[in-house]
């Protein structure tokens, strides 16, 4: 009797053990399923992150590297391959994300282009009236199309030296500038000069260098031709020149000047210069050889006062489509359109 009871108890114990094991297994399978989904979604997110990281690398003017894993959030991602069309406007990217043993691959074809860029119709295009325009010393404005170095002519694509909104202002500029204003023609009325206001917010948001505090800044470098930059000077309407740049000031890209700013010493800037404000007063250079190669747009709600000086050798404000292209193609000013996205 006692032995039978013992066997029964043992049998029941074994049965309950089996049931308990099955319960444990089903719970474990459910957890595994959920965790597998977590791993899958994490790997997918990492693969997408790789694409975004690659594009942000382009934004910084650099080329993304391939085949190198980056650890992130317990997983890792990498750009497997990167191809670009000969004209640079189409990109093929393959990225991979890995989380534990889950991997995820994304294959993307993107069209790369630039954000809208203000049309520059002259070496200096003025969209303000009336215009107080002064060329002092040996300053020179030339609308012929120069190469990036500012010294060699491109051979085609010449523009006017200065455009204004009215005949009166054109006459003033022609009279003031004389033979120092060159171009095809030297001075012209152009009422289509673009209002740069619509572009300023983009430049402000993406500025690499911002000057919002009054003061004197010297020895400044704003990028170079390989890494053009966006500069935003917000001087306000203080006619006492609340922002001054002295010494060597050089750079490449987009230079936005809001309000009254004085550039002293040698200014050497390649790209687009936008001067905008309320009855804007801008002084480029005093002693030295200020040079702006690219294009200048001057806009003012109640007129503009622009002074170009060059008491040393000739100052230069020269049109250059090549320099403007550098500004247009700043990484931050590009955007991407999806042509195909496979994941």
């Amino acid at each position: 009797m006692g032995r039978t009871a013992l066997f029964l108890v043992l049998g029941l114990g074994a049965a309950m053990g089996f049931i308990g094991f099955q319960m444990y297994r089903s719970g474990e399978i459910a957890a595994d399923t959920q965790y597998a989904y977590l791993k899958y979604t994490n790997a997918r997110n990492l693969a997408r992150t790789a694409i975004h990281v690659a594009l942000r690398t382009y934004d910084r003017g650099q080329t993304p590297s391939t085949g190198v894993y980056t650890d992130f959030g317990g997983g890792k991602f990498r750009l497997d391959s990167l191809r670009m069309s000969s004209d640079g406007d189409t990109l093929w990217l393959v990225s991979k994300g890995a989380y534990v043993e889950s991997t995820y691959t994304v294959r993307v074809t993107l069209f790369r282009t630039t954000k809208p860029f203000p049309t520059v119709g002259a070496a200096i295009g003025i969209r303000a009236k009336p215009v107080n325009f002064t060329l002092a010393g040996h300053a020179e404005v030339d609308g012929k199309n120069y190469k990036l170095d500012g010294a060699t002519l491109a051979g085609s694509g010449d523009l006017p030296g200065v455009t204004t909104m009215t005949n009166t202002d054109s006459a003033t500029v022609a009279s003031t500038g004389g033979t120092y204003v060159k171009g095809v023609p030297p001075v012209k009325v152009d009422t289509t000069t673009v209002d740069p206001l619509a572009f300023l917010e983009i430049y402000k948001e993406n500025a690499d260098f911002r000057y919002d505090v009054k003061g004197t800044y010297s020895g400044t470098t704003w990028g170079d031709t390989a890494h053009p930059a966006i500069v935003y000077c917000n001087a306000g309407d203080d006619t006492s020149f609340s922002i001054k740049f002295t010494g060597k000031v050089e750079g490449c890209g987009v230079l936005v000047v809001r309000g009254n700013v004085q550039f002293n010493g040698n200014l050497d800037f390649k790209g687009l210069v936008i001067v905008d404000g309320f009855n804007t007063v801008v002084d480029f250079g005093a002693a030295g050889t200020p040079a702006i190669v690219g294009g200048i747009i001057v806009a003012g709600n109640a007129g503009a006062s622009v002074t170009l000086k060059g008491t040393g050798a000739n100052a230069k404000a020269r049109y250059s489509s090549e320099a403007l292209a550098k500004a247009r193609n700043i990484g931050k000013l590009r955007y991407y359109t999806i042509l195909d996205w496979y994941e």
Binding site: S26, I29, A30, A36
Partner: protein, 196 residues
Amino acid sequence: MSAMFDVVASSILFGILILAVARVQGNLNSTMYQNTYNMTTQTTAVEIARQVEHDFTKIGYRVTGQKIFTADSTEIRFSGALSYGGPIESVRHFWSDSPDTTTMNPLDHRLIRATTSGGAISQRLGITVFRLSYFDTLNHQIPTPVTGLAALSAIRSIKVQIRFESFEPIPEADTSLYFAVNWEKIIYPRNLGKPK
């Protein structure tokens, strides 16, 4: 006399033990069933989530022109290649109008997935809610059914809400109680915004 008392007493104790063990086993079995249903429901939810994500992220892949053809609250039909560089297929997901009578759950309907290459597959998954919502580029919801080429072309994201329930009610509980898993996600098919 003493031996007889031992036999009777041990039989009573044995009977009590058997009853206790039987009850424990019953409870264990019930719990095991619940775990199994729970696991099945969760597994189904994950599998369908992956299926929906797999298909919906392919909307418009390799397609030029119109990409979504039907967009209703329980149905979507679109074009897209389902494999890398593969042929463009017509894909349709819809929740059947009538409940699935092959399960004990009175609320579940079948989800039908139809593709050009795979044909129509009626999936018995215990889905009691299948709701699709559509949003434009500004994340404004587009009323369903979305009709007209302009409205269909304006779709940029799709919100998917699915409720999975077990086929049978929870054992030894109110018969109207079912295990359930809710899954919802807004999917942004990247190919929807590409140029025509």
